[in-house]
Every structure is written in structure tokens, then in C-alpha cells.
Amino acid sequence: MRFTYRQLADYFTDNFPSVAELAEGLTFHAWEVEDVAPLTGEDLEFEVKILPDRAGDAKTPAGLAREINAIWPELKPKEPWSTVTADSARQEIVFSVQQINDILGLNLKESEISSLLRRVGVEILGGENKLTALVPPARSDLNLKEDLADEIIRLYGYNQLPSRLLAPRPNKVGQNAVGFSLANRVRAKFVAAGYAEVYSYTFVNDGEFEIEKALASDKTRLRTNLTDGLRRILEANLDRALFDTDEVKLFEIGTVFVDGREEMMVASAVGRKKPELKIEIEEKSLSLWSGASLPAGDLDPFIAGEVHYRSVSPYPRIVRDLAVWVPKAVEAQTVSDLIKQTAGEWRVEGPVLFDEFAKDGKKSLAFRLSFQAPDRTLADPEINEIMAKIGDRLATNSDWQVR
């Protein structure tokens, strides 16, 4: 809903909050202010995300002004807001101070509770153990003591609510679901064996379960196996591998939908292009792994430390090889580090040492590396320049020769 600042300020005599105060107060105590945009004549427009429970009373300037007065009770409205009486009340909610404090984890007094509720136009009758809230006709969302607790805490302020960590339950250590624990043991096995875990899509173009209003014509059904998706992912990775001899090992644990029911499956895939094309995929139900010899399901050893994430570029990659003669005593790592330092920000893979041989007291080292820009297709001359720079850097060692 859109409201203008002046329109709202006009309901009050003076001391209307500033634009920033208004946006912040509404966001914390009522609804998110999603945008504040300038209008002509030095006015501003507020985009306020009125939530569905308050669609009935707050989606008018007067309704929002009423709410603003609840958040800033010191404001004086030009016209007094209508008050609720036992006769006009939409309904009565009977509650106690204890019940409110039980929900919130606070120790509010009766006077504080009554005062907060009066700010939203709810009248309170009775005393401590049996209070009656008179709900104004416009507030169709207030029906239970929990609804009153919501009004109280949002006006009181969540920032004032104490933080209490749930007390531990020393004698109540339960078991995680069997499937979850088993899946983690299977994960530990595959990751330790060099497999990378993938998550693929549930929606496919064929299968016995069909969905209404699919997002695309090839995503109308629920997958009946993990194998098909895993094969596609494996092949895509093989096509992107730096060397045709690279082996790719993947696994997925996920739900498939077949024979009228769903089942958690485990699929693994191993592939490479050379020396001969090999693609092996196995899939079986997670439940069939329960008798297998598996490691404990502790995944801590496989959790990444600090991650320096770099997004995978959608633009083409340029692959280059570089060979250099160095004295026998020079470590390949030393050469590799120098290449890395000089290769610049577009280097995405390598340098990978792929060939090494010794001759006449020297050794030849061959490296492969690849380049890719995050935002565009690189041109060959740009990479030629970088390769020349790397060559120059290596050649500063007088007994190294770039081939």
C-alpha cells in the first residue's frame, strides 16, 4: 500500500516523526516499509507492506495513522479516534496477566499490559487474574489471548525482549531420524572416496507423477530415478574437464517418485573420456545401505574452512599449456607458484603439472591452465599477452628456458 508522508502527518497536530523515524518505527513495530520515494512538492511516498491479517483496518490513510499513533502514543490526533465500549466491541477476550507473560517470557504488570493495548484502541476491564479486552469493531484479527500478546510485544519492542537460550534437556537426548543418519554415513563414505556430492532437480519430462501448472513443458513430472540427472551432470563435467583423462566422481542422495510412492535413493557416477570412454552409474535405495559397512556419519572432517567463493563464469574458457626447462633442483611447485602469481585475475584453473621429464641435467615441466572472465568472452590476444608476461617472469631466472 502507498501512502504519502503529508497525508499521514495531517492526522496529527504536530511533532510528527521524521521520514526516517517513521520508516523505522513502522518496520519494527508493525509492517515493513519497503520503499520511500520522493514526490513533487517535497512530499514523499511510503510503500508499506500491510500484512494480510490487517487488510481489514489498516489499508487506508486513517487506518495507518491510527497505527502510527499506537507506535507514537505521544502524538495528538486532530480528531480523536473512536473508542470501543462494551456495546460496540466486536468481541471480548478474557485473559490474565500471567497468560501474557507466559507467552512472552516477560514480567509485565497489569498497568503496562493495559496501557499497551489501549494504544491500539483495545479497552481493558477487570483486574489482574481476569481481564477482559474489548476489541474494536475494525480489528477482525484480534480473537485470542495470543493475538493480544502479539500487540503487546510489538509495541513493547522486540529489542526490549530478553534473550534466553532454551534450557538443555540432559536426560532427553533423542535419536535423529534413521534416514538422515544413514544418508550422512553414505555421504561420508563417498566423499572420503573422492566423490563430489550434487543436488539435482526433481522436475523432469517423464514419470508417473504429474503436476499442475508446471513451470516448463519439460518439467511436468517428478523424477523416477537419480541416474538420468546424474548422467547429464557427469557428461557436462567431463566436457569441461581440463584433461580428457580426468576422472569425475559424483554422487547424489535424493527422493524419486515411482510405483505410487516416493523413495530416498543413492546414486553414484564415475566417468572419464580417455584412454577409453568410461561412464559407470549405480543407483539403489538408501534403505539398502543400512546393512553395508559404512563409516560413522560424522561429517565434520568434510566441512569447508574459510571459503573464498568465486562465481562460475558462464562465458567460454581459454585453455593454454606452458612448458619450461629448469635445473633439476628446482621444484615444480616453485614454478607453479610463479605462474599463479603472474597469471592475473582471469585464471580459473591450474596451473596443473601434466608432463615432466629429465634430460642433460635439466628437467622439463609442462603446465596447463585456463582463463575465463566473469562478465565477457575473453579474446585470444588478451591471453597471449598474459602468457607472454608469465614467460618473461619465468625467464628472469637466467637458467630457466620457456619452450
Binding site: 507466559d102 532427553k172 566423490y195 550434487v198 526433481t202 504429474e210 517428478l222 565434520d300 601434466f354
Partner: protein, 233 residues
């Protein structure tokens, strides 16, 4: 030439971290089916048929629509199943795949992962203050010990009071969670007396936590299986 590197998917890594924190607080992991009933996903959670979240564009219904079967839209459906078992008091955390019928882009996927946590005890034992403290503890565990968190007034049908939760990341506040005290109507639908029991519930999108923590800007990357992506974690 390059030996394969064994890697856990980043969403598995975040899930594992979350579950460890909750296990220490006495929560156990619960599971449920991805195909749900309309009742467990909506009616039981105090989401009546005219609620905006039930509009056709948000939910993947299975054919035929008249069967009332759908792909769960939130993990709160599993929390509800657990509540209906009436093993009280209870603390469960339910991680899993959920589905929303939305056009996909860098920040929206039609499938993603959520966890939902539910803690129920006698009246007055588990309160909004416990919710705040528990959420702070959780987000500090995921994002670092000095992470700032705030709660804002909000509305979700299955809780009352209801809040949205933001964490501060760099100099920005990012919304990470919907939370609140489980609504009495949800207790009743599960066959539990809300005059005797109360508790909190909250749900967080695992993909979003991973995107924030690692700086991943496109949610679709999680489902491509590209080794160049996976090997960074």
C-alpha cells in the same frame, strides 16, 4: 590427470552445521515425505483455503487436483506431523526439500531446502524470550559469534505472535527467518490442547543461509552439479 576431490554439497554442509547446533539443544532430526496432504501443509497449519499462500501460482499440486496432494511448500508440514504424534514435550528440527511454483531467477528456485524447528513444552516454559535467545545462538553458530540479530513484527498463519528475523551481514540487515509461538489452532488440529502446551516454531531457507555465508549470488548454482562450483566448498 586431475584426481577427483571428494566434496560435500554446500547445502549439506550448512544443514550439518545447523543440525549439530540443534542436537546440542536437545532437538532431534525429523523427516517427512515431499508429497504432502493439503491438511498437513495448509489446513492443519491454520492456513485456510482463501489464504494467499494457497494460490495456484505458489503451490505445485499433483494431478488430479481433486486428490488434494501437493509438493510440500514448507518444512512446517513435518513439524506438524511430529506434533500430531503427541510425544510431549518435544524438540524437533526438520531439514528437507520444499517446492514453490515461482518463476526461477538468481534468487528464486522452484525447489530449495528449508529446515523448520519446533519446541513444545508446558505453558510458560518455552516463550518468545526463549525463541529470541535460541535464534541468536543459532545464527551466531552459523555466521559467527559476533553476529547481530533483530526481530520485527510480522504475520504467519501458523504462529502468534509472529516475527521476521534479520541478521546483520556487513552493513546490511538480511531477512533469514520467519518465527513465532505456534498458533493454538495448529495445536488443536494436531490433537494437542493449547491450554496445556505451548512452544515456538521457526523456519529458515538453507539455500539462503549458504548464499549469505559463502557469497553465492545465484541460487541455481546449487542444483547444476558443476564441479568448478562444488570444489570451492
Amino acid at each position: 590427470m586431475i584426481e577427483p576431490i571428494g566434496k560435500l554439497h554446500p547445502l549439506t554442509q550448512i544443514t550439518w552445521g545447523a543440525v549439530k547446533i540443534f542436537n546440542e539443544l536437545g532437538f532431534t532430526v525429523a523427516e517427512g515425505p515431499e508429497i504432502e496432504t493439503e491438511f498437513n501443509n495448509f489446513d492443519g497449519l491454520n492456513i485456510p483455503p482463501n489464504h494467499p499462500a494457497r494460490a495456484m501460482q505458489d503451490t505445485f499440486w499433483l494431478k488430479p487436483r481433486s486428490d488434494g496432494k501437493l509438493l510440500r511448500t514448507h518444512m512446517t508440514a513435518v513439524s506438524f506431523r511430529e506434533l500430531a504424534k503427541k510425544r510431549l514435550p518435544m524438540r524437533v528440527v526438520s531439514p528437507g526439500r520444499v517446492f514453490r511454483n515461482e518463476a526461477t531467477d538468481a534468487t528464486h528456485e522452484a525447489q530449495f531446502y528449508q529446515f523448520d524447528a519446533l519446541a513444545v513444552d508446558r505453558t510458560g516454559v518455552i516463550t518468545m524470550a526463549d525463541l529470541k535467545g535460541t535464534l541468536e545462538h543459532f545464527y551466531r553458530g552459523i555466521f559467527g559469534a559476533d553476529t547481530e540479530m533483530r526481530m520485527r513484527a510480522s504475520f504467519f498463519s501458523f504462529v502468534e505472535p509472529g516475527v521476521e528475523v534479520d541478521i546483520k551481514w556487513g552493513d546490511r540487515w538480511l531477512e533469514v527467518c520467519g518465527a513465532g509461538m505456534l498458533h493454538p489452532n495448529v495445536f488443536r488440529a494436531a490433537g494437542v490442547d493449547p491450554e496445556e502446551w505451548q512452544g515456538f516454531a521457526f523456519g529458515s531457507t538453507i539455500d539462503r543461509l549458504a548464499m549469505i555465508k559463502y557469497g553465492v549470488e545465484d541460487i541455481r548454482q546449487f542444483y547444476q552439479g558443476d564441479r568448478r562450483f562444488l570444489e570451492q566448498f
